[in-house]
Symmetry: C2
Subunit: 204 residues, 2 copies
């Protein structure tokens, strides 16, 4: 009997169930990122876990709910980046943002890919919630940039477009980054940080 067995039964069940759902989300995330949401069948997800197709519905409500969970998790990991920014000047804070954002893209590549590609396929109560998180994140970067302009360290004509520009440059990494390659998230941050600062007029 391991220590786990002393947990109250209810929590034990909840815990085991959480592990199973985690497995489902990871398997689905990988498949969704490779083939897309619509091209991935519920049966294909189940096969990865050695289950029968219908058995997944003992754990999930619908295929769309699985997509939502994946997309929401990715959105929250991005949100955590702006919540954990260090105090300091705009240059340091923007660089920390760049490094943190790239870390999420690179370390959660399947989730990030699904977040970028498939969120539009969510239907309405779900989609609005994700749009909210996306907009808040972009607004946070825009404010970082505006703070730098006020400090006099950035020169930017249109902070809104500049934020979209930077996010695009960072997000696009998901298109070509492959985990086993020559480049880790740290090196990537080291190269991308001066590119971003340069774009913002902060002299690389």
């Amino acid at each position: 009997m391991s220590g786990v067995a002393f947990l109250p039964n209810e929590r034990l069940l909840a815990w085991r169930e959480m592990g199973r759902i985690e497995e489902i989300l990871n398997a689905a995330g990988k498949l969704f990122s490779e083939r897309g949401y619509h091209a991935t069948s519920v049966r294909a997800i189940a096969r990865q876990l050695d289950l029968q197709g219908g058995s997944l519905y003992a754990h999930i409500e619908s295929k769309e709910e699985v997509l939502f969970q994946i997309v929401e998790r990715a959105a929250k990991r991005f949100a955590a980046v702006v919540e954990n920014l260090p105090e300091g000047g705009a240059r340091e804070r923007v660089c920390a943002f760049v490094r943190g954002h790239l870390r999420v893209v690179v370390e959660e590549l399947p989730y990030a890919t699904v977040f970028f590609h498939e969120w539009k396929f969510l239907s309405e109560p779900y989609k609005a919630r994700i749009r909210e998180l996306r907009d808040a994140y972009e607004a946070a970067l825009k404010e970082l940039i505006e703070a730098g302009v006020r400090e006099g360290v950035f020169r930017v004509e249109d902070p809104d477009l500049a934020a979209k520009f930077v996010l695009g440059a960072l997000n696009w990494v998901y298109q070509w980054y492959r985990p086993g390659g020559r480049l880790g998230p740290e090196e990537l941050g080291r190269v991308f940080c001066p590119l971003v600062l340069g774009a913002l007029g902060g002299e690389g």
Copy 2:
């Protein structure tokens, strides 16, 4: 009888067929860009042209061939950008690239969206052909950047990553740009050009 009626019959038929295929590609491009390739049925494409589902196969070989034609067209419009770059210094040439690239994204938004999102779903003879075009395009931008470094107008640590950075920033426009908005392709180019030059160390 219009002038067209004097065309030799064969050419007339070929001409009319081309028009029909154009309509199919446009309808399919719009639907693919909105819902994705796998979520768009052949019947949905046919419905846009007031045809029955099976009737499309009088014009096309397969659904995948339609996807390929769309993706290849987009790739060729991008390729035309680097082929028509003006002579001059690296700054001017990069700016022309930025403007030209954004024009394609904005003016061919559905095709560009499908190009970015759905090309990976092509099967092998098709996919290799597209990968070729993508790689050549990225290599061309990389060489533009390297030329600027040699001229002494850019300061860039890693031209390959810099090219990926710039392409990401430009491509991402497809994610938020909406045709009826406040922003035309010219204004977009005017704002993005200094951002790119700044990123490359060319002092915005």
